[in-house]
Structure formats: C-alpha cells, structure tokens
Symmetry: C2
C-alpha cells in the first residue's frame, strides 16, 4: 500500500488492534491452529540428529528432504510432482517477488483478477508492470472470455481456490478452459494457492498445474497449514524456469533457512501435518459457517457476500452508495473492524466492498461483531 | 557468476568437492564452530514458552527481542545503537539486495573495492549499476585519494574488516578519513562486516558507523558467529532509511522467520554467543596461523599473500604470468583447490590472484595442501 488512502487504512488498522475492537480485519491464521508440540518435537529431533547440517548453509533450491516431502504432498493431491520440480522459497511472498523480477520488465503487461491479493500487487508493482484485468462474471474469473487481446502478457496471476480477498473458487470446468486458453494464447499461469487445504466439507478441484504443467508456476505455502513464522513457501513448475528462479534467489538471499526447512520436512514426513489438518479445517469451518449465518441474520437487504466453502475470507458487497474506506472509520469507532476493498483492485475503483476474516475470532464474538456491522451499514441506507 | 568463465569455475568447484581434494575453496564457516547445544536449548525454550508467537507472522522490522539484542551487541562493540536503528534481514545477502533495489537505478554509479565480495557484485548487478573503483594502495582502500570525481555515486560499498576476498583490514586512521570524505562528498557508506568478530589476537578498529552514523548502513550477520542456516543478518542505520528498506522488504518477503529470530535472541540474551565466540576465534586463529606458516614454507619466490589478523580468507598474488582460473584445473587434478580471483573484480582483469580459506581444513591437511599448491605454482615459474 502507498498513497494517502492507504495511509488512512493503515492508521485505521492500527486502531483496530485495540482489545475492545472485534476485528475481522486480520489476515493472520489462527495460532490455535498451530501444531506447536509437533514443531517442538521436530526441532528437537532435527537439532539432535543433524544439528551441524541444520545450522549450516544449504542449497538455493532447498533442502532435499523438504523438496521430497512437498513433492509427495503435491502428488497425493492430484498433480504428479517430482522433487526436482520444487523450489523452496521464504514464504509465497518471495515467490511473487522472484516471479515479478524474472518475468516483468518496466512496462510489460501482466494479467490479474479484479480484485486480487494486495500483497501480489505490491510485489508486482516493484517491477513497474502495466495491469490487464482478467475477464470475470458472477462466478469469478471467466476464462472463456480470454481472447487474442490478452496475448503477449507476461503471465496471468490467479488464485483459483478460496481466493484472497473474495473467498471464491474456480470450478474444475473453468480450470480446464483456463489451461486450454493459456496454451492457445501462449500465456504463463501463476497459480497462487495458499488456502487450498483449508476446505470445509470437501476438497476443491485440482490445481491448474494438473491441466497445464508446462506453463504453470504453482505457489504453495506452509504458512496457513503449519506456521507462517517458519517462512516457508514453494514454487512447483518446469525445471528450466526454476533454474532461473534459483539463480536469481541465490543473488538475493542465498537460500531459505536450513533449520526451518528441516523442521518442516520432519513434521510432514512423520505424517503429523496431515494428521493435524482436520483440526484446522474444523476450526475454520465452524467459524466461517458461523459468520455466514450471522451475515444472513444481521445484514440489511442490498448487501451480498460470497458463500465460501473454504479458506479464511468472506467478501461483502455493499450498495454502491457506501464507500467502505469511509465506513471503516465509523466501524472502528463502533469497535468492529474489516479491511476496505479498494486496495485489492489493481486499477482502483470499486469502493463498496469489504473483506472479513473470521479465523481468529470465537463464534460468539463473530455474531456480536456482525450484528454491530449490520446495524452500522443499515444506518447508511 | 555468469558467463562462460564462471561456468568453468563452477564446474571446477564441483570437482573440488570430491573427498580426496584438499579444498581451500570453501566460503562456509566451520560447522565445528556452531553452538549446536545452545541453539537446541534456545529452540526448546522458545517453543515451550512462546510457541504460538514463534510460529506466527512477525513485523517486517524484526522481532523486538532480537533487535534489542543486536543493538546491545553493537553498543558493546563501540557504536551506540538503539533497537530502532536495527532492521533484521534474511542474511546479509538480503541486505545487499534491499540496498541495491533502494539505491540503484539502471545506470547509476556505485563504488566498490577492487577486488570485492563476489556475492555483493551479483546482488548489485541485478539492478544494472555502473561500477566505479575505490582508490587503493598497498594497504588496501586509500580514502585520502577520494576526490570530487567520486561525487554523485549512490554509495560506496566497503568491507573494512578481514575482507572477503583479501583478508585485509582498514586502519582506524583510514576509517576516520573515509568517514570524513563521505561527508565531504555526500556519499553513503555501505559497510559490510560479516567477519569482524573473528579476530585472532585483538579486536579490529571500530565500525565505520562510529565515525559517520548519519550516512552509514552497517551490515552484520549471525552466519559466521552463530549459524548461517538460521539466515539472520541485520542493517544498522538511520531510521528514515530503514523505514524505506522495511517497506520494500514487506513487499518482497513480509519478514524474516519469527522462530529463528527468537532462537537467536535467546542465544544472545543468555550470554551464550559471547561465551561461545572465543572457541571459534581460537579454531580460526590456529588454522589461519598454520596456513600463513605453510605459505612461508612452501610458496616459491615471487608469490605474496595477505598477513591476515582475523576472518576466514587469505589472498594470494602470483606472478602475472599465471592465470589462476587455468591453474585451478591442474590444481584440482592434483587434489587441491582454491577460488580463482577473477570473479571478485567488478570490471574483470587481475587474473593472477587466488583466495584460500582454511576454516574447514585441519592443520595437517592445510600443510599438505599448501605444499602441493606450492609445488604446482613453482612448476609454472
């Protein structure tokens, strides 16, 4: 974020951190979902059995055991992946930066959803691209509408599963069409998937990479399912692109922490990540469902939201007369907070949306907060 | 490294990894110097007492306790530093990248020593600068020779203490002159100091930052004294520059691992880092001294080297008729390895130098390897 409006939002988010505020403005996973004891045991094991290696420099591509573990996870989730097709990075945010630096020259065009993840826009903007907007309809990204006018873009950045900020998920049919269009238009797909494992009732459709492995860079992360504090993400893609990414990464931070990589590999290999996931899913499902229910009860007519099936966010659309950045000030004064939608739009506009996160708020507080927010919105209509 | 010559060097370095090769080509600290047990205890303590925080997102500036610990260390070493003047980064290499991206536009001029750290050249080159060479004499960087022609450079990158690759150290007098010149010429100083704590007999002169705090960005790292696998470095400097660096870092990797920061803070705060350092110094002193002695015994006339007083490297100058990149091939065939000097020169040339590291080689092997290398060089004269 930059610019005066973003400064306002940042200041309001600071106010929202007061304990009396029910904050739906968070983007952090719930610490209740962290497998602290599993990480402790893994750290103990790693340092006792391979302490010197864990504290030494590692290779830029990543620790072999973590690459193996990630490849096995990806394969088990429906996309055959070899360790060679995995590059470890310091969180998905670094993947976005690396891809931006590799693919974008000043002025080159990239395609994004509208709205899209704010942190991706920030990473891309460092490299001075121009933004093209991917075509959408009521069900989100509509790949059938991709025509020759989208040719020549450096890549299309998409978050097909439980997206940040919208919570929406692309159907399998649309994923297949998008992959097909990418081939026809000679387009790289950058598939960002931080939330895919956080499904509530059933798993989302398979990764885009299943349908266009030769032109998809798939970004994954352990931040939402294991721990963001480890700063571990990964890119799955063709080795020849990963070679370039690795060479660039070497010059910018040598490699990602050996110790945290070995700890994560141990947690995954021992089966504890998979064993732990149902608990996180259940926590998020309960709270997400409670928020959907509360929205139904307490939102005035004219307000709509995404019926999310996984992930951390619900996207709310207000009547166009309401500017959510302005609303935020009053909301915080009423001890309830959200993230205004404007910064998620690459080209601005669209000031009547807001993003809600429920993952760190207990159910009774969710209901209380949504009721408060509903009343505030109703007073504006 | 890039270009065909660098490919040759990379291939030779791979050959040098064979166990029968006595390799002085390493740049890695000795794992014998890692305080594995201290790190284990710290990890255990951190995860037990603050597990959820250690696994959660952190602030881009860095964990408060690590910033405090670093500030205290810096202050104890002669430069009054507040936690506010400390930015945590993912190893010094990331500091180089951040500074390059903040200070360098395509074509802007930066000043470097000749030779200088290869990894810094790589980080800087990503941003397309032109290189100016800092004036030197037999004692290394000679700041008295800095005149108005150096004005307008974005910064001067210097490694004043036990430099990589030369092992040389600037005198206190020269540091004071450099700081004075920086003020006169309105020049930023980027002081890279990864090896300062690795002194053998007595501590090196104080940081450049002591003499020009308002225009020095001082880079430190825990990689050589604690563990490179934690990927922890830091930048000390004026808060207004750190604010810009922090904003940039946020968009490229959010922040550095919370867990590794908390572990390092615990090791430092408990006094274990300071307690552990004498052992590393003694290890490096013993091996460095053995190598200096072996060079005296086994090198033919016409070969010179730096009489290092700390750090990890000795720089050897051969008669100009010998190209060390070519020599490397034969050396590896003779089961001894070094790093050819050419890639350390921003503008190329200077093909008759080589860098030796002794830190991972036991004394008898150091003597054996230098004897072998001496014979090989003698055969070329």
């Amino acid at each position: 974020m930059s610019g005066p409006q973003d400064t306002i939002i940042r200041e309001l988010l600071e106010l929202a951190a007061r304990p009396e505020v029910i904050s739906f403005a968070g983007g952090l996973p719930s610490p209740e979902g962290f497998p602290v004891e599993d990480v402790r045991e893994a750290a103990e094991h790693v340092i006792r059995t391979a302490g010197r290696q864990a504290l030494q420099y590692s290779s830029t591509e990543g620790e072999p055991e973590l690459r193996r573990a990630i490849a096995a996870l990806e394969t088990s989730r429906g996309v055959e992946t070899s360790p060679d097709e995995v590059q470890i990075v310091s969180g998905s945010q670094q993947a976005l930066d690396l891809i931006a630096r590799l693919f974008i020259d000043e002025g080159s065009r990239i395609l994004v959803e509208n709205p899209t993840y704010m942190g991706a826009l920030l990473a891309f903007k460092n490299c001075g691209p121009t933004f093209g907007l991917l075509p959408t309809d009521a069900a989100g990204l509509n790949p059938a509408a991709l025509d020759d006018s989208f040719k020549g873009a450096r890549f299309a950045y998409v978050m097909p599963t439980y997206a940040n900020p919208t919570g929406m998920t692309m159907t399998e049919e649309r994923r297949i069409v998008l992959a097909q269009k990418a081939k026809e238009l000679d387009l790289w797909l950058v598939e960002d998937d931080p939330y895919g494992e956080l499904w509530y009732e059933k798993r989302a459709p398979k990764s885009l990479r299943a349908w266009a492995p030769e032109r998809t860079l798939r970004l994954g992360t352990l931040s939402k399912v294991l721990s963001p504090g480890l700063r571990l993400g990964y890119i799955c893609g063709p080795r020849e692109v990963l070679d370039k990414i690795s060479l660039l990464k070497q010059s910018i931070d040598l490699h990602t922490s050996t110790l945290t990589q070995k700890i994560a590999a141990r947690v995954i290999e021992s089966g504890k990540l998979e064993a732990h996931l149902p608990q996180v899913r259940e926590l998020y499902r309960t709270q997400g469902t409670a928020m959907l229910q509360a929205l139904k009860e307490f939102m005035p007519e004219g307000v709509t939201w995404t019926e999310v099936e996984g992930g951390m966010f619900i996207w709310v659309t207000l009547p166009e007369s309401i500017d959510t950045t302005e609303l935020m000030r009053e909301a915080v004064a009423n001890n309830v907070a959200f993230v205004p939608g404007a910064p998620f739009y690459a080209l601005g506009g669209n000031r009547n949306h807001l993003r809600l996160s429920f993952v760190t708020v207990p159910v009774p507080r969710i209901r209380e907060g949504i009721e408060r927010l509903g009343k505030l919105i109703a007073s504006k209509l």
